[in-house]
């Protein structure tokens, strides 16, 4: 009985973890992409440089969501609280 409650709580927690972890990076990536488009519109000749920097920084922001995902995955597949 307690085991199934722990499982249910873990699954809910995993969902919440990914959901919450996606909020911040979503806003951040939107900001970054918007600014990059603005920069390209203003100076189309540096598009390549802007694109490279944008991709790199997007991947950094992506990593924050991935941390949430790692927590979620360990809750589902490697949960220390269920036997």
């Amino acid at each position: 009985m307690t085991d199934s409650i722990v499982s249910a709580a873990s699954v809910i927690a995993a969902g919440i973890a990914v959901g919450l972890a996606a909020i911040g990076p979503g806003i951040g990536q939107g900001n970054a992409a918007g600014q990059a488009v603005e920069g390209i519109a203003r100076q189309p000749e540096v598009e390549d440089k802007i694109r490279g920097t944008l991709l790199l920084s997007l991947a950094f922001m992506e990593a924050l969501t991935i941390y949430g995902l790692v927590v979620a995955l360990s809750l589902i597949f490697a949960n220390p609280f269920t036997s």
Binding site: S4, L56, A63
Partner: protein, 242 residues
């Protein structure tokens, strides 16, 4: 209805946390990781030997051209982060970059499901947290070595820069660096593989293809990020403040 706690694994038929164990001297090793990493090492070394065996001043042939482009690429990454003394660190950054890059791409491109193991399955070595943690700890050891070699004992002076109040945060940074490096790589690669397997489970053909291409792209970006960050950490510890 009581669902056993590992029912999700059976429903999705995903093999996370199952390994092909090798028992050596009382330690259990994850055999599938070793097999694929050896393949990766073999490929990288093979390409390097092919690229340098018949070396000419004007690059000739596919292998020398390719490998020269790779070396230049890695040199650019290192140079942009470390500055003028970058030559010493190119081999380390280059090995990291090539190992991670080839691992990620092999994991995404080769149909490993066709090769059956007694338990677990072959995949990119970087989707095992032990691989990424060891790479990240190697990076930590390297930037300590670089800093100590360049500045001697006064390297530890950076812990009380700019004020001694920041000492705990500066010490904490030495732990968060390898943690974030390893989790970023591990999480990204595992997330890609999981997304692909879940999608393949739902729709076996065509639909997972864009995600697979995205996985290839993410794999190369993660290799670039790992190499860039390692170079940045090394550059930070060898640069002169005064």
């Amino acid at each position: 209805m009581i669902i056993p706690s590992n029912a999700l694994i059976q429903i999705a038929d995903l093999e996370v946390g199952k390994h092909f164990y090798w028992e050596i001297f009382g330690y259990s090793l994850h055999g599938q990781v070793f097999l694929v990493s050896w393949l990766v090492i073999f490929l990288v070394i093979g390409a390097s030997i092919l690229g340098t065996s018949t070396i000419t001043e004007v690059p000739r042939g596919l292998w020398q051209n390719t490998m020269e482009a790779v070396v230049e690429y890695v040199q650019n990454i290192t140079k942009s982060q470390i500055g003028k003394d970058f030559k010493e660190w190119v081999p380390f950054i280059g090995s990291l970059f090539l190992f991670i890059f080839v691992s990620n791409w092999l994991g995404a491109l080769v149909p490993w499901k066709l090769i059956h193991l007694p338990e677990g399955e072959l995949a990119a070595p970087t989707n095992d947290i032990n691989t990424t943690i060891s790479l990240a700890l190697l990076t930590s050891a390297t930037y300590f070595y670089g800093g100590l070699k360049k500045k001697g004992f006064s390297y530890f002076g950076k812990y009380i820069q700019p004020t001694p109040i920041l000492l705990p945060i500066n010490i904490l940074e030495d732990f968060t660096k390898p943690l974030s490096l390893s989790f970023r790589l591990f999480g990204n690669i595992l997330a890609d593989e999981l997304t692909i397997s879940v999608l393949t489970l739902l729709v076996p053909i065509i639909i997972p293809l864009p995600i697979m291409i995205l996985g290839l792209f993410a794999g190369s970006i993660q290799a670039l990020i790992f190499a860039t960050l390692a170079a940045a950490y090394i550059g930070e510890s060898v640069e002169g403040h005064h």
